[in-house]
Symmetry: C2
Subunit: 350 residues, 2 copies
């Protein structure tokens, strides 16, 4: 019997509605694989910020340190500026736990239509996004604030170890898949950091001779994700480019509302964090109609990460079965099912 | 009789193949409107770089100064790093001539299929891209080069005057269209420059009360460009975001190979520059099969800019007519016509 301690951070809005289904799925599939989960729930959120002036306690990250993994619902709420809520909760966890990989699988599900011709059914790739450095940086500031010559500067910082480890992760992942890496760049416009990134891609390619790779400028790449999505296997990009590409790719696959993300520390020194990509959705929060699939898929990624790949696959098989074989759908996918009804269908399929 | 002096820079690859059709179209439509064009051609290109070590002469930009406008074909060729060719020709012209607006119209043509369901026929918007500051900056560099702790830093610089003028341009353009601006941001991740941009959008909105506006984070925005492209009227973004959005939008519209761009100095102190977006296309260069439509559309934008809107509209009506009413198409659009055959069809329609 393996026992895992999981930190649950429902966060804001529908975050609190989608984590219980994910938890129920974990318990159900865990039971079959001799795995149990103990959950510690944390109320860190914009609600907390508005009441107490901080998204989480000063020692928040420390309190998560001894968990085996973290499941997060959603962060952000109207009335709290996004950079306050995100940099007060999500981003410090990513950084302090050195979750330098943001992993975003992209696929087309039978029964979930893609808006793009030719997206289904060949489309199946993974966006590997650098998650702790690059364009998301606290270095920079405002100059001459309030004056006509005011300016803002922002430093993007790319380090050799930081870029190398994410590239190696991407190449190694590709080696277990179809053996192809696409590197997102913009070295024709961004002349210091991107040529550096490109050089390190050449080095990574040399270290992984069995993997083919190519680079694409981000502007051309977003176009190709729309025009020919099935050509990709692993796309690796900086923090910003990975963010853009993964949301775009999920939209192309028809699954923007159900996409998952893993924030992973591959060294396993720190807990990794899994979260649906959809956000807190203030427009539908509190109505019990949110799609729990992003959270369930994130839980499946967590199982994978914890070494229970078969259990993760069973969860995804159940999900795939419900989508392909039944009309049960939440509203975002054109159905009328509630969060609970959809969750029940997945549990039954398990 | 108005007489314009136009600088032609064919540049590399198919650049030299698509400018002659654009020129023929200008001459034909000009004759009807009492407008003549004199052309000065410049051989600035990667070929020149490989022979003489510079993309253009040291006083290159100066030599263009007294032209009424510039028509550029394409820049870039294998064997010359992109950041060398682009920063040796295209980008200095944009910057030294303060062409702070990069204007990219996006539309769906009857007869040119979009790969995205629901893109046609409602899709008709303009991407207004900041073109001289922001993420494309020479400020930054490499530290500890060659050592394990090597890093690259890149400063993005946004100034109040620079952001204000591009926003005002976008709001004023929207006022002549459907009255709606979407501002691309990423203030939840990029915490110095993007919140600054957002503040200036609020100010611009207050200056233009008749125009509605909203902001979208770039990751959500790229998804919406795919999922609901007809909702947009004017999208305004930074140098990098505008670059990404305009290529993406052209792909969604099915017109990636025919999209035009205007690099505009709205003060008219300096000449503006018009260029197809497609690039030099080494794979088909020299075969006479390139699609001249991007160059022709760019020439139509140039007519507009010079104050001959009706002439520009006539060019676009001819293009629209050929696409909708005839099977004449170059290869990229699934046809067999040569560059010349397609150009002839447009000239005949004029
Ligand atoms: C070639 C490159 C530097 C350029 C840019 O990014 O500005 C191009 O993509 C464009 O959009 O005109
Ligand atoms: C909310 C935001 C800061 C975050 C990011 O850009 O990292 C989100 O878009 C994501 O992709 O997880």
């Amino acid at each position: 019997m393996t026992d895992y301690r999981i930190a649950l951070i429902p966060g804001d809005g529908i975050g609190a509605e989608v984590l219980p289904p994910a938890r129920a799925v974990l318990d159900r599939v865990g039971a079959r694989h001799g795995v149990t989960f103990r959950y510690d729930e944390f109320d860190w959120s914009c609600t907390r910020y508005l009441a107490e002036g901080a998204m989480m306690p000063a020692d928040g990250v420390d309190r998560l340190r001894h968990h085996d993994a973290i499941l997060l619902g959603a962060v952000g709420w109207p009335g709290v500026p996004d950079h306050v809520s995100l940099w007060g909760l999500l981003i410090p966890i990513r950084r302090q736990f050195r979750q330098y990989v943001n992993l975003r699988p992209i696929r087309v599900f039978e029964g979930v239509p893609s808006p793009v011709l030719g997206a289904a059914p060949g489309m199946d790739f993974v966006v590997v996004r650098e998650n702790v450095e690059g364009e998301y940086s606290e270095v920079g500031g405002r100059f001459n604030r309030g004056f006509p010559d005011e300016m803002a500067v922002q430093e993007a910082i790319f380090t050799r170890p930081g870029v190398t480890r994410i590239l190696d992760y991407a190449f190694e992942l590709a080696a277990t898949r179809r053996g192809h890496v696409t590197s997102a760049t913009k070295s024709n416009g961004i002349v210091h950091t991107m040529p550096f990134w490109d050089e390190l891609v050449v080095e990574a390619g040399a270290r992984h001779p069995a993997v083919e790779w190519r680079q694409e400028h981000i502007d051309a790449l977003v176009a190709k994700v729309v025009l020919d999505p099935s050509r990709f296997d692993v796309i690796v990009g900086s923090n910003l480019f990975g963010d853009i590409l993964s949301d775009l790719a999920a939209a192309v696959a028809g699954s923007i509302g159900i996409a998952p993300a893993g924030n992973i520390d591959p060294t396993r020194e720190f807990p990794s964090m899994f979260e649906p990509v959809h956000g807190s959705a203030p427009d539908i929060a509190g109505q019990g109609v949110a799609n729990p699939l992003g959270a369930i898929w994130s839980a499946a990624m967590m199982l994978d990460h914890l070494g229970h790949r078969e259990a993760g696959d069973e969860v995804m098989a159940a999900v795939t079965g419900v989508l392909a074989g039944s009309p049960v759908r939440t509203r975002d996918l054109g159905g009328t099912a509630s969060t609970d009804e959809f969750a029940r269908a997945v549990l039954d399929a398990l």
